[in-house]
């Protein structure tokens, strides 16, 4: 499964290291994270990680492999 997650705000490079398994690209006012998600546990784990770092998830979608 591959996912694309958009969070509000432009993430610093340092903060992006909290998601080493995802690639990051900063677009105006948002950061796009994308990459493989192993399973549902990983998916929920990611959500918790965003939340615990105070990041606001704007969009979360599965993309074709």
């Amino acid at each position: 499964m591959r996912y694309e997650i958009r969070v509000d705000g432009e993430m610093s490079d340092e903060l992006a290291t909290a998601f080493p398994e995802l690639k990051t690209s900063v677009v105006p006012t948002q950061t796009v994270l994308y990459g493989p998600v192993d399973d549902e546990a990983h998916l929920y784990g990611l959500l918790v990680r965003f939340q615990s770092l105070g990041l606001r998830v704007a969009e979360f979608r599965r993309i074709p492999d």
Partner: protein
């Protein structure tokens, strides 16, 4: 914040044992921090609209404060709690380990008591981490419901146990049944698994959500103003938009602006920027602090709570105290917990950890290791283990567990499952005696003896030389596990050798260290006594088990004490002392009740002994109840003694009910089944043989009974008497008499054995010599011995000769009405036992059980419907289905059947 700890010491005043309430069941002294209401900083903005919402919550059972990290949930509630009367609000900050229901409820009880709510002792507490006795929750709810004043229970950070349906269900149950006595406030990042829609529909829920928590522009202005930065209405509006009213963002923003050279342009720049709010602002605030402060914050971000000394250990400096004090004074990041402990806001800690990894790659495990060592020295084992595990240093973690003499906590007590889970991650490379001891304990706890013994051997080969405390701790832990392994294989010799090694190692340890781990000694003694009992060393077993019972009281030793008492009861029973057996068995049950051991975790031995005594009195209904309770325990399958006694008792019940033929197959199974133990017990097989012979005899087949004794010669007085009865029935009275004459004068026999011996002799004398006066004399003595304990079975199963004798002596019959009352309507041979409560073919649904429960409370259909928020018709449908499943046609019948089946 002061700790109100004075009110919860002392006993329950009813002669019960005192559980020290000041310490958690698994001895976590940092607990106080979790029960403390967080302090509200001076810069907190009280927002009336939210205060009103919370006030509204006081009238409803449930208040939910839901929002993302840093939304200001905790402070909102903490501010209100500070305004409440002491003794009306309890606060608990939930942690992830609390998803084990037993742990969760033990902390809830702690929180209530800590906050001056005198939860009575009879409510007790859970004894197992993974499970909580439902009756405990019912008692708690009923007590809350019956109080004059209500309790507000605040559960902060509830999202940490969001995945536990058990905890949610149990909370729901307590909330429902506590009526007006309980108000629940749940603070959580995610919605709890409670049936919120139902509470909402019934108007029983106050919902405070992210939108409510978000700051409005005028509130933003007030907050920034408190930081000494006047803000125009327009600027406040823009800032609110930029942060979406997020409290943590606003607070950081104000702090960063305070320190900026030009606050106004800082705010303008921030508003115009697009960076992620928290990370950016945190970076800004950090930059404003001196390098030492930044370094301290980064390094202590790996801790949940920090202490100046611990922080110094992590930074390698000695300035933590002033730094932490300054941070607290300026309301940046840290919050005081009292007793010099501080907590970092979890959102900031998360972000700081990310920065730590970037700035100091590879430092994190080292910090965890240093923290583990410091915490271990401070006696905070639980926290130390967590950090040792995070450091990936399993040798350190295992050494800490063993060094604190805490290996027994893997086997018993509330921490068992958590520790087991922690060490399940242990790397296979971790080597040395301590990791091997931990592995052995885990395998033994999982009943894998072979693997447990393999690890134990490896640990033994690498035992450290005597000399230091730590070496003694390793040797003691190893010896205790060897006793357990010896018990499982049934070797009293090995157990006794290991116990001597344990005593030896104890000599090298300071007494106070041993006292902190009472469960270690209690476990060792119980296992040793069990091995001795299996081997037939009854006197030694009795002494050892009594010592186990005497070992320190309290929750950590509850299970070993329960088990030791049950085995003492068995020893009494085997020696024919029903009175003492019953007393010990009742103590064992009371111990389990008192410490909240769920039925499935109990040993079942006590219930078996109670059943055995009841059978001897011919109280078959009571015996059946005790047998069912014994069979419901997990030990029934694992403990060979329980399995054997269960089979013997079932056969006796069948004989007593006249179905002696059915009694044989189960006993046959027992003889063929190799018992779990490697070493056979000298007396256990005797008991199976005796029961088999008794079943043959009752079945009218004395030859088969005699054959049992010929194949397996037995030597105890009781079994010799049984053989004499079989010989007599088979027509060999002379042989019977010789057997009895060959018996030594009974000594140290309890009345139950005496009765059998006297009665058998009377029967044999009467049959062989026709000497009625001599037989009558013996019978009189048997009656006198049996009377105090109402032992009816020997007489009822003695055969027709007894009836003849009693008919000749009507005075005797009149004098012993306790017996003759039962003797007169002698049950016809082979009557079918009355229809037993048939088990349900289809279980009741949770909803049907809800309805049934209310049915038992004599509620009408309409009342049930109202109480459960259901329509009357739905309730009627449930009722029909309940009647069908219980095969009942009326309410009363359904309730009675449900009670018989233990559903109510």
């Amino acid at each position: 914040m002061s700790y109100r700890s004075g009110s919860h010491e002392g006993s329950d005043g009813r002669g019960g044992r005192v559980v020290p309430v000041g310490v958690t069941p698994d001895g976590d002294p940092v607990l106080a921090a979790r029960l403390t209401v967080p302090t509200v900083p001076e810069t907190f903005v009280r927002r009336e609209r939210l205060v009103e919402q919370l006030a509204e919550g006081a009238g409803r059972p449930l208040t939910l404060v839901n929002g993302p990290a840093g939304a200001g949930k905790t402070l909102l509630v903490a501010d209100r709690v500070a305004a409440c009367e002491p003794g009306t609000v309890a606060w608990l900050t939930v942690e992830s380990q609390d998803s084990a229901p037993g742990v969760f409820w033990s902390y809830v009880l702690h929180a209530l008591r800590h906050h001056g709510i005198a939860v009575p002792e009879y409510i007790r507490g859970p004894a197992r981490p993974g499970e909580v006795d439902h009756s405990l929750l019912a008692r708690l709810a009923a007590w809350l419901n019956g109080r004059d004043s209500r309790v507000i229970l605040v559960l902060d950070e509830f999202d940490r146990v969001a995945g536990s349906t058990a905890v949610a269900d149990e909370l729901q149950f307590v909330l429902r049944h506590a009526g007006d006595g309980l108000r629940l406030v749940i603070i959580s990042r995610t919605e709890p698994l409670l049936p919120l829609h139902r509470y909402r529909a019934a108007g029983e829920l106050v919902d405070i959500r992210a939108d409510d928590l978000a700051f409005r522009a005028e509130e933003t202005a007030a907050l920034v103003d408190l930081h000494g930065l006047p803000l125009s209405a327009e600027a406040a509006r823009t800032l609110t938009e930029r942060t979406e009213g997020w409290a943590a963002g606003l607070r950081l923003c104000a702090l960063a602006a305070q320190r900026a050279a030009d606050p106004e342009s800082f705010l303008n720049d921030f508003e115009a920027g697009h960076s992620t709010v928290a990370d950016f602002l945190l970076g800004e605030v950090l930059r404003a602090h001196p390098a030492e402060t930044q370094d301290l914050l980064l390094r202590t971000s790996i801790l949940e709570k920090t202490h100046p000394d611990l922080a110094n250990a992590l930074t390698g400096r000695d300035d933590a105290e002033p730094v932490l004090e300054t941070l607290q004074r300026t309301n940046a990041f840290v919050e005081p917990l009292g007793h010099s402990w501080y907590r970092l806001h979890s959102l900031f800690a998360e972000i700081l950890r990310v920065h730590l990894r970037v700035r100091h790659p590879g430092l994190e495990p080292e910090l965890h290791r240093t923290a583990a060592e410091w915490l271990s020295r401070a006696g905070l084992l639980d926290e130390a283990l967590r950090h040792a595990a995070d450091a990936g240093d399993w040798e350190l973690a295992a050494a800490e567990l063993v060094g604190h003499l805490a290996i027994g906590r893997l086997l018993t007590g509330l921490a068992a499952e958590r520790l087991d889970g922690l060490f399940a991650q242990m790397a296979p490379e971790a080597s040395g005696p301590a990791p091997d001891l931990v592995r052995a304990a885990r395998e033994l706890a999982h009943h894998d003896v072979d693997r447990g013994v393999t690890y134990l051997r490896r640990a033994e080969e690498n035992l450290p030389e005597r000399g230091t405390d730590d070496a003694a701790a390793v040797r003691l832990s190893c010896a205790v596990l060897r006793v357990l392994a010896a018990r499982v294989v049934g070797s009293a010799d090995l157990a006794e050798t290991a116990a001597r090694d344990a005593a030896d190692a104890e000599q090298d340890l300071p007494a106070d260290r041993l006292e902190r781990s009472p469960e270690l000694t209690a476990l060792m003694l119980t296992d040793l006594g069990s091995a001795q009992l299996w081997a037939g060393r009854f006197d030694a077993a009795r002494a050892t088990l009594s010592a186990a019972v005497e070992a320190a009281q309290g929750l950590p030793t509850a299970f070993p004490r329960h088990e030791a008492l049950g085995r003492l009861a068995l020893i009494d029973y085997l020696h024919g002392r029903p009175g003492q057996a019953e007393a010990h068995a009742r103590d064992a049950v009371a111990e389990a009740e008192r410490s909240g051991l769920p039925v499935s975790y109990r040993t079942g031995m006590a219930q078996l002994v109670l059943a055995a005594v009841a059978v001897d009195r011919y109280d078959l209904t009571a015996a059946e109840e005790h047998l069912d309770l014994a069979a419901a325990t997990s030990a029934a399958a694992r403990d060979p003694l329980v399995a054997v006694e269960l089979a013997i008792l079932r056969s006796r019940m069948l004989v007593a009910r006249g179905d002696s033929r059915a009694a044989l197959p189960a006993l046959d199974d027992m003889t063929r089944q190799p018992l779990v133990s490697a070493e056979p017990s000298p007396w256990v097989s005797d008991r199976i043989a005796m029961a088999t012979a008794a079943a043959h005899l009752a079945d009218g087949d004395p030859k088969a009974a005699v054959k049992v004794f010929e194949e397996q010669p037995l030597h105890s007085p009781e079994s010799r008497a049984a053989e004499a009865r079989a010989r007599l029935a088979a027509g060999d009275g002379e042989r019977a008499l010789r057997i009895l004459d060959g018996l030594p004068e009974p000594h140290d026999q309890g009345p139950a054995v005496d009765v059998w011996l006297l009665l058998t002799r009377a029967q044999v004398v009467e049959a062989t010599t026709g000497d009625s006066p001599a037989a009558e004399g013996l019978l009189l003595r048997a009656l006198a011995a049996a009377r105090p304990h109402q032992l009816r079975r020997p007489f009822l199963e003695a055969g027709p000769w007894l009836g003849r004798l009693l008919r000749r002596r009507p005075a005797l019959a009149r004098e012993h009405t306790w017996l003759t009352g039962a003797l007169a309507p002698r049950p016809a041979p082979a009557p079918r036992r009355e229809e037993p409560a048939r088990p349900l073919t289809e279980p009741l649904s949770a909803r049907e059980l809800d309805v049934l429960e209310r049915l038992a409370q004599l509620m009408s259909t309409e009342e049930i419907a109202a109480d459960l928020h259901l329509s009357v018709n739905t309730v009627k449908t449930h009722l029909k289905s309940i009647y069908r499943k219980l095969a009942a046609s009326r309410r009363g019948e359904a309730v009675r059947r449900a009670r018989e089946l233990g559903l109510l």
